[in-house]
Amino acid sequence: MIINHPLLGPRDSAEFVYLGDASLLNRPDPETASPKDWHDYGYLRDNPAGDLRELWFHEGGDRSMLVVTRNTLTHDITSVALARDVALKLGAAL
């Protein structure tokens, strides 16, 4: 599987470490979150048969975190973005 890194171009997925659902970027606000919010953030994930946004860490490359949209049925990758850009857009402190 090839991941098209936004800065470095096509890279073998063996260079990356898989870090799970990209919803990890949406961490609840510690000032206001309830225990249920933390439970949902920590444990609940969708398991779609189709497009899934997920985090990949370029461990054998520039050490950036990427948000990769991958189809779980076909492994087609439709978009790749730097997680930093996605998080800054969300207003999260990363």
């Binding site: 800065l7 470095l8 260079e15 054998g60 490359g61 520039d62 050490r63 950036s64």
Partner: protein, 188 residues
């Protein structure tokens, strides 16, 4: 009085040199390193400082700036590794910090890396056995991080183009040297 003798990453008193089939592998102990990471909101100022030091633009993704005495390569977004001769720049991190101030976080890296120069006309045959980067597509001034022998290494293509510099984790210097030498014996 103590009588301390400096040793290289491979444990010798002199840098190790191996030559196989016209390709040489040379341990390079004489380089000081410091990592430069722009602080948030100071990215442009940091880049300007770095350009000033390098007398040319700060390298972009996948590139290095080959320059004397200070050189640098891109490590990640707003992150670079700077290098310079240790004789004149043993305190490279402190020198850069004085110049860059609050625009960047700078960390001493000299003792974290081992540096090998691989040079010879069939250097590409060796590198393509070692890692999955497309060495034949890389030109002088290209730099990338890859895995060699399960170790995260930087590969810098230098001038002349039959020369690459490989930076790997110093604590695994012996393993990396073994991997490089084995690949040279296989390929050449």
């Amino acid at each position: 009085m103590h009588d301390l003798k400096p040793i290289t990453a491979l444990g010798g008193t002199e840098p190790r040199i191996d030559t196989i089939g016209g390709v040489s592998l040379t341990e390079k102990p004489g380089i000081a390193f410091a990592s430069v990471t722009a602080r948030r909101g100071h990215e442009d100022a940091c880049r300007a400082h770095l350009a000033d030091v390098l007398e040319g633009p700060a390298p972009g993704p996948g590139k290095c700036r080959l320059h004397d005495p200070e050189a640098a390569f891109w490590m990640g977004p707003d992150q670079w590794m700077a290098g310079a001769p240790i004789d004149s720049h043993e305190d490279l991190a402190a020198q850069l910090k004085t110049r860059m101030g609050e625009t960047a976080s700078i960390t001493e890296q000299t003792d974290a890396w081992v540096c090998f120069d691989l040079q010879g006309d069939r250097m590409e045959d060796v590198v393509e056995l070692l890692c999955n980067i497309n060495i034949r597509a890389m030109k002088t001034g290209d730099a990338t991080r890859t895995s060699i022998h399960h170790l995260g290494c930087f590969v810098l293509r230098r001038d002349p183009a039959n020369w690459v510099r490989i930076l790997g984790p110093r604590a695994s210097a012996g393993s990396l040297h073994h991997a490089l030498l084995t690949a040279m014996k296989s390929a050449l």
